[in-house]
């Protein structure tokens, strides 16, 4: 476990580390793709897309 607070005395409450969220495969893919953006590399950032097909005429 990481010691997040470092100092010269013991604090009243301990601070436990909540490790940075595990990166999802989706995040990893988007991060890697962003680095190589250009040419034939283009990708859809899923977080920014509004999945709204209701108003579309079928």
């Amino acid at each position: 476990m990481n010691e997040l607070l470092k100092g010269n005395f013991q604090t009243k409450n301990q601070v436990t580390d909540s490790p940075a969220k595990e990166e999802t495969l989706e995040d990893r893919f988007e991060r890697e793709a962003k680095k190589r953006l250009g040419g034939s590399i283009a990708y859809v950032s899923k977080k920014k897309v509004m999945w709204d097909l209701k108003n579309e005429k079928k």
Binding site: F9, K12, D17
Partner: protein, 524 residues
């Protein structure tokens, strides 16, 4: 004794954390030496976010929560002080560093959660604030070097704090309070030289304060004698930095003995194999000391067994070494071939040169005291000494024009420089900011805070101060420079001349020194 929580805010989020905040590490050491109870939470290193910040703030009853950093840490500071006020309603929230110093009144207005701001150097002000907290006294207006709120809510600036002259009395930075093994050592690598690339345990040292030059884009954090207190038209005190015709500096440096003992301490205790000197300009100090300072540091580095062994014994560089390689910032006109060779023999691997441009007219107006000739000369001297020069470049100077762009491109070609120039950025505290403030505010709907929030690396465009080119043009021109596309730059010059109705035979520029930069373009 006062209970102090330091929080180091996030900076340069797009990169991994690479630098222990030296100022905070020194202040923590000063506080501990005086017997105060100190904890550090380094959010820039851990980057755990709001939940952890809340837990840290709730870990004890803090007398003060202290934050500071450079201007671009503002986004993170704003978030942290809001949480701090909520979780610790009784703690004194203190803000210091370059972010507060360049705009003290604005910062205190934008951040109502902050109780006291420390303007400029904190070596004297900070312990005095802790002593007051100990005595239960929270009248900050009688502590020199602060800005605080009076009972009527009005901001009050106390008289300025003098700079510390006996720097060697400072304790060593409290590096042990930062996550070295967990975060900083794994991020030791600096891709500026082979040795920097191979560094596995790096720490930084700041051996001096100040720079004798007056580059218009530079800000010295109010700790280099660059800050003056002035009264505005309403009779209110405020700070002032470099402006045309008014430049002040105080040059200070640690003794070579202190510097090398500190490096030896880092070597023995933390097993470092690389040190990055944070000094604004090592060569100012060398010149100021009559060429003794750097030479003595190099000599003592060797005498104390810190020069990498293969350099001392004449062997080959391997993937690792005993001793310490190091880097720093040099200056085109102030360096000499002799000192560069000395520096290499003591383990210097790379030196950052703010060459900025290779255009004579741009350099002449910049205040750097360099010319294309001294740029090129120092470049070769440094390579000859066996040190890699890092040739920083910029685009978008107030007087940037097509010719200055071509001058820089020609030099890159000749010297084999591969570089993506920074955009000229008027950071608060710089002369460019002071001179162009009104124009910058207009680019951000009259809201200066929006500009400060937008600031980051100068690799992106923020406030434009070029009289000839707008943001779109600068972005395009930078791309063309990278592609070495002189043809398209020339074609665009024709379009640009037609757009600006420049008659044949006249130079391709709108630059004028008689009007305030940029407003000139607006008025046209």
């Amino acid at each position: 004794m006062a209970k102090v929580l330091f929080i180091n805010p996030t900076v340069r989020e797009e990169d991994v954390p690479r630098h222990v905040p030296y100022g905070i590490a020194l202040l923590a050491a000063i506080a501990m030496k005086r017997g105060h109870l100190v904890q550090v939470y380094d959010e820039n290193a851990w980057r755990r976010g709001e939940e952890t910040i809340r837990a840290v703030l709730a870990a004890d009853e803090w007398d003060t929560v202290a934050l500071g950093g450079i201007t671009t840490a503002y986004v993170s500071i704003r978030q942290i002080v809001r949480i701090a006020r909520e979780v610790c309603p009784n703690a004194t929230i203190m803000l210091g560093g370059g972010v507060l110093t360049s705009l003290p009144r604005e910062m205190m207005t934008w951040l109502p959660e902050v109780d006291v701001g420390v303007i400029g150097e904190a070596f004297g002000t900070f312990p005095e604030i802790l002593d007051r907290l100990d005595q239960g006294d929270r009248t900050w207006s009688t502590v020199n070097g602060t800005i605080s709120r009076g009972p009527d809510g009005k901001l009050a600036m106390s008289p300025p704090r003098g700079l510390l002259h006996d720097l060697d009395n400072l304790p060593y930075p409290a590096w042990e309070l930062f996550p070295l093994e967990e975060v900083y050592f794994p991020n030791s690598q600096v891709l500026f030289s082979e040795e920097g690339m191979l560094a596995t345990r790096r720490l930084d040292i700041n051996a001096s304060y100040g720079c004798s030059l007056i580059c218009r884009f530079c800000y010295h954090l109010g700790i280099a004698g660059d800050m003056r207190y002035v009264e505005d038209d309403k009779g209110e005190a405020n700070v002032e930095f470099d402006r045309p015709g008014a430049y002040t500096r105080t040059i200070r440096y640690h003794s070579p003995e202190y510097v090398v003992k500190l490096a030896r301490y880092a070597y023995d205790r933390f097993k470092v194999n690389f040190i990055g000197f944070l000094d604004e300009n090592l060569m100012t100090m060398d010149q100021y000391s009559d060429r003794t300072w750097m030479r003595d540091i190099c000599r003592l580095w060797k005498e104390n067994g810190l020069a990498p062994s293969y350099l001392a014994q004449g062997g080959e560089r391997g993937e690792s070494w005993t001793g310490i390689h190091w880097s720093g910032t040099s200056h085109a006109t102030l360096c000499t071939p002799e000192i560069l060779k000395e520096m290499r023999s003591a383990g210097c691997s790379h030196l950052v040169y703010g060459y900025e441009s290779f255009s004579p007219q741009v350099l002449k107006r910049l205040g750097k005291g360099s010319t294309p000739k001294t740029n090129i000369r120092s470049f070769f001297w440094t390579l000859e000494a066996g040190i890699r020069p890092i040739p920083n470049q910029m685009i978008g100077f107030p007087s940037e024009d097509f010719d200055s762009i071509r001058d820089s491109m020609a030099a890159w070609d000749k010297l084999g420089i591969v570089v993506k120039p920074f955009f000229s950025t008027p950071y608060p505290g710089s002369e460019w900011f002071t001179v162009n403030r009104e124009w910058i505010e207009r680019q951000y709907d009259g809201d200066l805070e929006k500009f400060v929030l937008d600031l980051g690396d100068a690799t992106k465009i923020t406030g434009v101060i070029s009289q000839n080119f707008n943001a779109v043009e600068l972005l395009g021109l930078r791309e063309m420079m990278l592609m070495k596309d002189l043809k398209r730059i020339g074609e665009y010059e024709e379009i640009w001349r037609a757009n600006h109705k420049i008659p044949p035979g006249q130079p391709s520029t709108l630059y004028t020194e008689s009007e305030p930069p940029m407003l000139a373009v607006v008025n046209r």
